[in-house]
Subunit: 223 residues, 2 copies
DNA sequence: TGACTTTAATCATTCGATTGAATAAATTTT
DNA sequence: AAAATTTATTCAATCGAATGATTAAAGTCA
């Protein structure tokens, strides 16, 4: 039935299952869990209302499945650099890698429309955690943050497991994430009608300047 | 009826009106607009369901009133420093004032439990804007950001109205706001059971170090 | 008295979930 | 291979509960 791997042709059940997850992801992220009705999800997925209960066991379980789908999708891309790639010992290389990672994250958060649904869904869970948050945190967020801590530590000579390093990395993430969360505020204040590639570039370079300035300052402090 | 100023003794209507706003603020911020029922609000305010329609004209109008209450409350405190206090001409004083402003905002965002309801309500509106967002943006957010831009510009010599300055200030705000939004992520990763004064201090000093490093770097660039 | 406010009851709608029948696909038996 | 059987999935209809709104009557206070 195609549950084992991607080899088999997806059955009808698999297809509606995937369509329901995609629709749920989109709508939960867009309007929030409570504001989204199961009828709306089913309609967008071209499925029957009953199929949600049949495939997942209810609205909440569908949300969990959405979280699982996000984790699985992102990890298939990010796992090599997240787990297997060794942290560079040389500070200069580490700095370059940190810079690249921050750049990637910024592109992911701010620009990329392909994963926009993912980001919005995750941000809602972060702000109001449910069981889906556990899935995303344990499967994704912690690994990313831990990795960034080690690269940062390799670049600065700090302790990768210290509180100071952890918080420092969070401030880097915060600068980037903010522009997704407060997208409406930024656009209104800047007079932008969208945050396109040009706008994203300005944001990313500014944030990266800050990060690099903080990194230099930290390295100067203990040479 | 005590609608004109705070001089009059609040009538019964004024009291339930205020109680409804307080309850709405709390619940909308806590669980979101859609997830909060009018019955829940009325119960928490010790009022009848009908009173929401009577005093505000419906659930959405109550949300607008909550936004108005936030703006009015904060402006009575912040207006002197936001509008009347002149921006210092001396870069050193401007820098000190920017630092102080960032510190205040961090305390407001991260620690202060008195205004926690306000912050949560605002953050929800920022992420999913309604008419209430317009009220808060025009009455509060824009003024704060504009002020910070001018102080920053006075400290660095930059143009207070340039895009670069605006984005720069947003990255400062972002570092701070993130710890409120991603509070759950941070606590879990750090192994904290709360973000109390001790934790807030670590966060604020880290963020301020970043800001100051960015400020120095920017000043060195054009001496 | 007369304006303001609260109250309980009821309104039509919408919600998530469930049901049992209908259909499609896969498996087993002949 | 054909028929019989089981399993998987879809579907329309319906459930009770909860929703926001409204109403008419009662209550309150100057």
């Amino acid at each position: 039935m195609g549950k084992r791997d991607g080899q088999d042709a997806p059955s009808s059940g698999d297809r509606t299952r995937a369509a329901l997850i995609e629709a749920g992801l989109k709508l939960f992220g867009e309007k929030g869990f409570a504001a989204t009705s199961t009828r709306e999800i089913a309609a967008r997925a071209n499925a029957n209302i009953g199929s949600i209960a049949y495939h997942f066991g209810g609205k909440e379980k569908l949300r969990d499945a959405c979280a699982g789908h996000i984790v699985a999708t992102i990890r298939t891309i990010a796992d090599p650099v997240l787990e297997r790639l060794p942290v560079p010992a040389d500070p200069a290389t580490a700095e370059a890698q940190f810079r690249l990672a921050a750049e990637r994250m910024a592109g992911f958060m701010i620009a990329g429309p392909e994963v926009q649904d993912f980001v919005q869904f995750i941000l809602r869970e972060v702000q109001q955690p449910t069981r889906a948050f556990d899935i995303i945190y344990e499967g994704l967020i912690e690994a990313v943050h831990r990795r960034l801590c080690h690269v940062w530590a390799a670049a600065t000579g700090d302790d990768p497991d210290s509180e100071a390093t952890s918080i420092m990395v969070f401030t880097v993430i915060g600068q980037i994430v903010y522009f997704r969360i407060a997208r409406e505020v930024v656009m209104r204040r800047m007079g932008w009608r969208e945050i396109g590639p040009a706008q994203a570039r300005l944001i990313v370079t500014t944030a990266l300047d800050n990060v690099m300035a903080a990194l230099s300052a930290r390295r100067e402090r203990k040479p």
